[in-house]
């Protein structure tokens, strides 16, 4: 594997503790890009895994684990921790990269992704990987599981938040809408659905495979507390703004739609269904990595 890009002057711990929201956003923007490169390297080396959906969720996952969530990586079963369910489980490699860098397990283990006997299964497995809250992979489960967690918090009088990251494929599943109905009935106020809305699924554009628009009207019709704006899911500044909005809400369930791009960061892979799960060939890797590193350097100079 190509050596990881490292910037010794910036400590990731700094990013967690940075009180200035704009500075924090710039730091997390940088690390999201760094993690994107890590994932790109791993998927290329392994010749298996899902680049498109992982790249789409980089900034959202980084912002969750390095800003929104109250967690203790050294005590992953702490009862009062916030939960994240990655309903779009195929983005596993990005989740693992974020968890490792957040301190749940050694970063060195990332290179065992999808190998026999690895704790990093193809799709997330809660008993194999510290920090994974729910095994996912088959689409459509996350919303229901998260609703169960959010209602448990209410029943047990705990104040943790339950987040679920939902992709286009999840929105196709009937069960997701069963859960959307049920959440509207029980109204847990610390349940948040984050929609990674890149509008490309395995076989092609969502508008061709299974159109979901108008998605905002659907959530409103189902009586959810939907964020009034669609945020840019690749701008950490925007994502932190959405988190600030979320924390001000007293009425749930909460949904936020983020406009994202599948395969974000490599121009010829963006919004292209082919790169949902195709192995990254040598030429695409060299050209793609050049673009990713160029962006990283730009983000670095902005710090």
């Amino acid at each position: 594997m190509t050596n990881l890009i490292q910037t010794p002057s910036i400590n990731i711990q700094q990013a967690i503790e940075e009180p200035d929201r704009l500075k924090k956003a710039a730091l997390l923007q940088y690390f999201a890009q760094q993690f994107r490169i890590t994932v790109f390297d791993i998927l290329h080396e392994k010749g298996t895994g899902h680049w498109g959906g992982a790249a789409s969720a980089a900034e959202l996952l980084v912002a969750l684990y390095f800003d929104a969530m109250r967690i203790r990586p050294d005590d992953p079963h702490w009862p009062d921790r916030d939960r994240l369910v990655l309903s779009k489980g195929h983005a596993s490699c990005m989740l693992y990269t974020v968890l490792a860098n957040r301190g749940y397990f050694p970063v060195e283990e990332l290179s065992t992704f999808r190998q026999l006997n690895s704790k990093l299964q193809g799709h997330p497995c809660m008993h194999a990987t510290p920090g994974v809250e729910m095994s996912t992979g088959a689409l459509g489960h996350g919303m229901s599981v998260t609703l169960g967690m959010a209602l448990s918090a209410r029943l047990l009088k705990r104040d943790f938040w339950s987040y679920v990251l939902i992709g286009d494929g999840d929105l196709n599943e009937g069960q997701t809408w069963e859960a959307i109905m049920a959440a509207a009935k029980f109204r847990p106020h610390r349940m948040v659905a984050l929609i990674d809305y890149n509008k490309v699924q395995l076989d092609g554009p969502s508008d061709v495979i299974m159109p979901m628009d108008p998605l905002d009207e659907k959530f409103r019709a189902f009586r959810w507390n939907l964020a009034p704006t669609v945020y840019d899911g690749h701008s950490v500044t925007e994502i932190l703004k959405s988190f600030d909005w979320i924390k001000r809400q007293t009425d749930g369930p909460i949904a936020v739609i983020y406009k994202t791009h599948k395969g974000r960061g490599v121009s010829f892979m963006e919004d292209n269904a082919y790169w949902h799960g195709a192995p990254i060939d040598e030429t695409s890797y060299i050209n793609g990595r050049r673009e990713l590193v160029k962006t990283l350097r730009q983000l670095e100079t902005a710090l």
């Binding site: 088959a138 229901s144 967690m149 448990s152 705990r158």
Partner: protein, 316 residues
């Protein structure tokens, strides 16, 4: 039969949930718009904050229970067995069992017991589905007393448990008997000529059949297989080693049910022929419960006939 006291497992289920509610404050109950039928509504009336009626949306209900289990709750998921096992199959396999979550899956109206509603409501392959799933325990109580015992055992089990229940009144068999143990066969009668293994409602038919066969000079080693998974291979093997032949009786298709589980357990030792009574790979229909069971081969008379033939074949 008329001399035996009758009670319905679903009533025992509703009463047991209420009776155990304070002992298990972490227990929650989820139902899919059949709470008045499955009797979970009684629990819901007394403990509204611990009861969740999710409407006719079984998949969501099963996964919500999984989310609750990860937070330390002990959910009991209730609906008709056919819908729980099939509409909830992906959720049971991928979320509940894969993660070994302590969720009780309570399948009501199982077998042919929703008899008049017809084939669309009759669970004839739920055992096949449930027992194929790793980590799952599969329990078939034979009366309301065992049902409550199964529920109590499942509430302290570290993993998912499927409990299969009948809708209708059936004979009370185990008043005052030792409690059901998960993974243990209950010996109901000692005999040397034929092993009969029965699960669920057909257990009382097997008891009657064994008595009748005794009158004909055929002694039956009668086993109640209340846990289909994990199977009590030791008790099963010991019995068939003695009798040399076995007849299984179940209210389920013979493809993948209790009889198949018995056959899998006994196959390596090859102790003798294995015969099965159950639904013969076909769909069923509407009708009265007892007459429907009889039409599909589940009756004391049929057990006698088959038992007699098995023993005669060996003698000749």
């Amino acid at each position: 039969m008329s001399t035996m006291q009758q009670a319905a497992m679903r009533d025992a289920f509703g009463e047991a949930l209420l009776a155990l509610a304070d002992q298990y404050p972490e227990m929650t109950v989820l139902d899919a718009d059949v709470a008045s039928s499955t009797r979970t509504a009684k629990f819901g009336a007394v403990y509204p904050d611990r009861f969740f009626n999710l409407g006719v949306a079984e998949g969501n209900m099963v996964d919500m229970a999984a989310g609750m289990a990860t937070c330390g709750l002990r959910p009991v998921v209730s609906t008709f067995a056919i819908f729980l096992s099939l509409k909830g199959a992906d959720q049971i396999r991928n979320i509940i069992a894969y993660n070994n979550l302590p969720v009780i899956l309570a399948g009501g109206y199982a077998g042919l017991s929703d008899s008049y509603d017809g084939a669309s409501h009759q669970a004839i392959l739920d055992i096949a589905m449930m027992r194929a799933v790793p980590n799952m325990a599969v329990i078939l109580p034979a009366d309301g007393i065992e049902l409550r015992q199964a529920l109590e055992a499942a509430l302290v089990r570290n993993g998912p448990t499927y409990i299969r229940m009948c809708r209708n009144p059936t004979p009370v068999l185990f008043e005052g008997a030792a409690p059901l143990e998960i993974g243990k066969i209950r010996k109901l009668r000692d005999g040397a000529d034929l092993t009969i293994a029965a699960s669920g409602v057909p257990v009382f038919m097997a008891i009657q059949a064994a008595e009748f066969l005794a009158g004909e000079g055929i002694s039956v080693d009668l086993l109640e297989v209340s846990t289909i998974k994990p199977m009590d291979v030791g008790a099963l093997t010991a019995s068939v080693r003695k009798t040399g032949r076995i007849l299984t009786v179940e209210e389920h298709t013979v493809c993948g049910g209790m009889g198949s589980a018995v056959a899998e357990a006994l196959a390596p030792a090859a102790l003798g022929p294995i015969h099965m009574i159950g639904i013969e790979d076909r769909f069923t229909e509407s009708g009265g419960y007892t007459e429907l069971l009889a039409k599909y081969g589940i009756s004391a008379e049929h057990i006698v006939r088959r038992g007699r033939a098995i023993v005669a074949a060996v003698a000749s």
